[in-house]
């Protein structure tokens, strides 16, 4: 074993890996927030609860229907995404012409309702979820031990993030989406069903959160409050990156995860707060965020 800056390499790389894992979730969640914000002009406060619902969906599928991780990875985001579509049709649709702060208040309230319901039925303690068989164990890379499941989470998160970026920035559908973000009235005049696009966008963003939830289930325990603390950190990530750019959201998410991991090695007391401190510094230096347009 060798040392780097007086820190055993195992510990350093271990925390870096943890940081990358956290970064995977930050990236997926802030990506979802950015996509939703782009189309709906609201910040989705329910996002944390929807991430939690994704994890619970995986847990319940296994408990009650015997459906395993791989199927859950597809089913949970679709089901939770559908609940998102219902939420958009039932509630958010009516807020279009109002001050954006109402969207914030409504989604905050919805988050409380969902979290409260889950706490009622499943208590506050965490429920375990097994790592799928194919990804159990790990491999020794010489300088560190890499659990297979964690490697999978990072790869999958990167893939989904990049695919989303590609879909929005490089495809025809994505160009409609970007156009509708800029000027919905004009895009509607061209015969594109913008309200339906808004609904589907919300469903997609929610689906991303649920996917993150399924991926998180084997790493963290499944619990009703797993989303609420995480989402506050993700908000800070979003403030740092700025919501103007899809790639910005992804990069900021991963970078901050890594910084958080490194902080755990060198100054563990600050690991909870380092992202907020960075947010404060970014606000002082670049108020619009690293990738943001000034808002």
């Amino acid at each position: 074993m060798f040392q780097i800056f007086g820190i055993p390499s195992q510990a350093l790389f271990g925390q870096l890996l943890l940081g990358l894992i956290n970064g995977s979730f930050y990236a997926l969640l802030s990506l979802g927030l950015a996509v939703i914000f782009g189309m709906l002009d609201i910040i989705n406060f329910t996002h944390g609860a929807q991430y939690m619902m994704g994890a619970f969906a995986a847990y319940l599928l296994l408990q009650h229907l015997g459906i395993g991780y791989w199927e859950a990875l597809v089913i949970a985001p679709i089901v939770i995404g559908l609940t998102g579509i219902v939420i958009e049709r039932l509630f958010l649709k009516h807020l279009r012409s109002l001050d954006p702060l109402y969207g914030l208040l409504l989604t905050f309230g919805l988050g409380l309702v969902i979290e409260g319901l889950f706490r009622n039925y499943y208590g506050s303690s965490g429920l375990p979820y097994q790592v799928p068989e194919a990804l159990q164990g790990g491999r020794n890379l010489g300088f560190m031990f890499l659990p297979n499941y964690r490697a999978w989470v990072i790869v999958l998160s990167l893939t989904v993030c990049l695919a989303t970026w590609f879909a929005i920035e490089r495809t025809r559908l994505g160009s409609y989406l970007r156009a509708a973000t800029e000027n919905p009235v004009l895009v509607r005049a061209f015969g594109i069903n913008v309200p339906r696009m808004v609904t589907l966008t919300y469903g997609f963003g929610v689906g991303l959160a649920a996917l993150a939830g399924v991926m998180a289930a084997p790493i963290y325990n499944v619990s009703p409050q797993m989303g609420s603390d995480l989402i506050i950190v993700v908000f800070a990530v979003v403030v740092i990156g700025g919501m103007g750019s899809i790639m910005g959201a992804i990069l900021t998410g991963f970078a901050l995860g890594i910084i958080e991991g490194l902080t755990k090695v060198f100054y563990p007391e600050a690991s909870n707060t380092v992202i907020f401190v960075i947010m404060a510094i970014v606000l002082l230096v670049r108020p619009a965020g690293l990738f943001g347009r000034s808002v």
């Binding site: 702060l101 905050f108 969902i114 409260g116 403030v239």
Partner: protein, 322 residues
């Protein structure tokens, strides 16, 4: 876009002040009779939160800034007051002053960061800063971590009034609440307050008229933070306790709920909202997590159906400012 408040009501504001005077007299009368009918501790808690909600309303109702981090001012003021009264043996008036001053300083720091962005970013920044201060409170030695600071002595006010007497304590809280309430009313009806409303309605236009809106927003933020801190300081003396609950984000959510339910930008709305929410939390406590569900549902219903809040709807119905 529809603003937070009815513009016609604003225009009528100056003409009819008698409805406000009547409502104020009714409110004071209710508080005077209150302790003979209800538990003084319940009333004192409600008064503290009413002041908290009024302070919050100053920001959202009159400047249009939604802070999701007001728990940091409430909670940290509560910690400082509790620590000063218990460990340093400060008399209650100084302890409360110390807590309030802490909130003011925090308000300057958090405010100058948060006003660099607008709208929903403002909400996210305040929430994130409050979460940071929550972790500080969790890790700091003097806050007592999970236990909080317990057994805070209420002491003797100005060395004369014994605050361990519930009635004396109630009067003290009531007087401070009324002073805070009137101060806020004075602020929103001053020339300064008019500029705040102008910023809420159209910030660009206010800037083009030559107002340095950033400064106005910062001053409003600090005032709101300071008064929220005052409420937190009082609360820690009432319960003789400062704990992590006071700095948690759910506390920030509670004060938003109180103000929304009572009526954003109304004078009496936050007071009504605070009493309703505190009463609900009290009476529904045995039902556990349902409180959370009901609070969330109230948010949804308010936003979809009663955007003016209870007092706001009443004012709209009676065509009077309240």
């Amino acid at each position: 876009m529809e603003g937070v408040i009815d513009p016609p009501l604003l225009a009528r504001h100056r003409e009819t002040n008698w409805s406000l005077a009547v409502a104020f007299v009714v409110m004071v009368a209710v508080f005077a009779i209150g302790p003979f009918v209800l538990y003084p501790v319940f009333l004192m808690k409600a008064l503290c939160f009413a002041l908290f909600a009024c302070a919050f309303n100053l920001l959202i109702g009159y400047v249009g800034l939604i802070s999701f981090g007001h728990a940091m001012f409430f909670g940290w003021a509560s910690y400082v007051t509790a620590y000063a009264a218990k460990s340093w043996g400060w008399p209650p008036e100084l302890a409360v002053l110390g807590g309030t001053a802490t909130a003011a300083v925090l308000g300057i720091v958090a405010g100058s960061l948060a006003i660099r962005r607008q709208g929903i970013y403002f909400a996210m920044i305040t929430l994130a800063l409050a979460q940071m201060l929550y972790f500080f409170a969790l890790q700091a030695k003097f806050t007592g971590g999970e236990d909080g600071i317990q057994g805070v002595p209420r002491g003797r006010l100005f060395g004369v009034f014994d605050l361990s007497n519930e009635m004396t304590m109630y009067l003290f809280i009531l007087v401070v609440f009324l002073a805070g309430f009137l101060l806020i009313y004075r602020i929103i009806n001053s020339p300064f307050g008019e500029v705040l409303k102008a910023i809420r309605e159209n910030e660009q236009r206010a800037i083009s008229l030559g107002y340095k809106t950033e400064r106005y927003k910062l001053v409003a933020f600090v005032l709101s933070a300071t008064l929220a801190g005052l409420a937190g300081s009082l609360n820690s003396l009432v319960f003789q306790l400062a704990s992590l609950t006071d700095v948690h984000w759910s506390m920030s959510g509670d004060v938003v709920l109180m103000t929304l339910l009572g009526g954003l930008g109304t004078v009496f709305g936050p007071v009504v909202g605070a009493f309703l929410v505190i009463a609900m939390q009290n009476y529904l406590a045995p039902f556990g997590q349902w409180v959370l569900v009901i609070q969330g549902a109230i948010f949804v219903v308010c936003v979809l159906l009663f955007r003016r809040g209870i007092v706001g709807e009443l004012a709209h119905l009676l065509r009077l400012p309240l």
